[in-house]
């Protein structure tokens, strides 16, 4: 019988050989000094490695963190922590920003609607535009915003255009 390969020796050592193969290996090892020596070496090496790897066990093993139930579902602690953090750091400011935006939008809409009704009254509904003040680097321009939102166009209103120049 040929000498045992390394794979078979390892399987023999680990007790993973099927019964029939195990018997054959036993028989061979009984009569082959070389394979017996290889088996002894392999066993020593495996034990050495197991001992070395055994050093890597942690000194302390923490208890399993508690599982927090939430909304009828389990939630891992870390996820719950992240959720709490999100509520504290993002949710509240986000709500504040949303409320501010809504507030500003409401006021703007109110002003716009007020101006529109005034413009319509003054001009007798002839125009659908309202003045919009746009500040540039050195002067104030007055533009007209078309209510159909097609864009801005300058109002021919010389007094208003030189408004900032007069202030200088």
């Amino acid at each position: 019988m040929r000498c045992l390969p390394a794979k078979t020796l390892q399987e023999y050592l680990d007790g993973e050989l099927p019964e029939a193969k195990n018997r054959r290996a036993d028989k061979h090892l009984a009569g082959c000094k070389k394979c017996s020596q290889r088996l002894a070496d392999s066993r020593a090496q495996t034990e050495f490695i197991r001992k070395k790897l055994g050093l890597l066990y942690p000194a302390e093993i923490p208890a399993a963190p508690a599982i927090c139930p939430g909304n009828g579902r389990y939630e891992m602690p870390r996820k719950a922590e992240l959720r709490r953090l999100f509520a504290a750091t993002i949710k509240v400011p986000a709500a504040a920003v949303a409320m501010t935006v809504l507030f500003v939008a409401g006021i703007s809409l109110g002003i716009a609607l007020g101006s529109r009704s005034e413009g319509a009254r003054v001009r007798g509904g002839e125009t659908k535009s309202t003045p919009l003040y746009v500040s540039t680097s050195d002067r104030v321009q007055i533009l007209s915003l078309n209510w159909d939102f097609t864009g801005y166009r300058p109002i021919e209103h010389p007094q208003s255009i030189i408004f900032k120049e007069e202030q200088k």
Binding site: Q10, L55, Y57
Partner: protein, 175 residues
């Protein structure tokens, strides 16, 4: 466990039990492989989060122990590859909660641990995982399930990994 489990009540009860029973196993596995207590804890949490989703989902889990090791091995492999790619950790095992504490307690032992970690780091990720699973005294069948290898290949690969690690340790001692 031989039969599959899906998202029923027994799945949740089973999860509680498994979580308490297997957390330390996964933690130890992660600690040995990744060399850092925090990473090991993260690994364990991620594994059990996935297990929970599986037990409460439609995907049946046939062999929970094998499933846990397979998920832990795959996640560890991803982390090791990620670390290797981005060189985020210069030396495994010197994490905040890793060996520093042990060094204070026993310098000689810490040096030995450091040498083992250094040698392990020289191995391919698959060999590292294989040796870790072997150290856990898993059967070849379980190792095959966890790593996706054929059962018939496990013996040979374990034997080679042991020899490679022994060689690395020997080289480390000479250096």
């Amino acid at each position: 466990m031989s039969q599959g489990e899906t998202g029923d009540q027994s799945g949740q009860v089973r999860f509680d039990f498994l979580y308490q029973e297997q957390f330390s196993t996964v933690y130890k596995f992660g600690y040995r492989l990744l060399g850092d207590a925090e990473k090991a804890k993260d690994l364990a949490q991620e594994v059990f989060l996935r297990l929970y989703r599986c037990l409460n989902g439609s995907e049946p889990v046939h062999d929970v122990r094998g499933w846990i090791y397979r998920t832990a091995a795959n996640l560890s492999l991803d982390w090791i590859r990620h670390e290797t790619r981005f060189m985020k950790i210069s030396t495994l095992g010197f994490g905040r909660n890793g060996l520093v504490h042990e060094i204070e307690k026993d310098f000689d032992k810490a040096e030995e641990i450091s040498a083992v970690r250094k040698a392990l780091k020289q191995l391919r990720p698959r060999d590292r995982i294989l040796l870790n699973l072997y150290q856990e005294e898993l059967s070849y069948k379980e190792i095959a399930l966890a790593t996706g290898l054929r059962r018939s290949s496990v013996g040979q690969l374990v034997s080679r990994a042991i020899k490679r690690l022994a060689r690395q340790l020997e080289q480390g001692e000479k250096a």
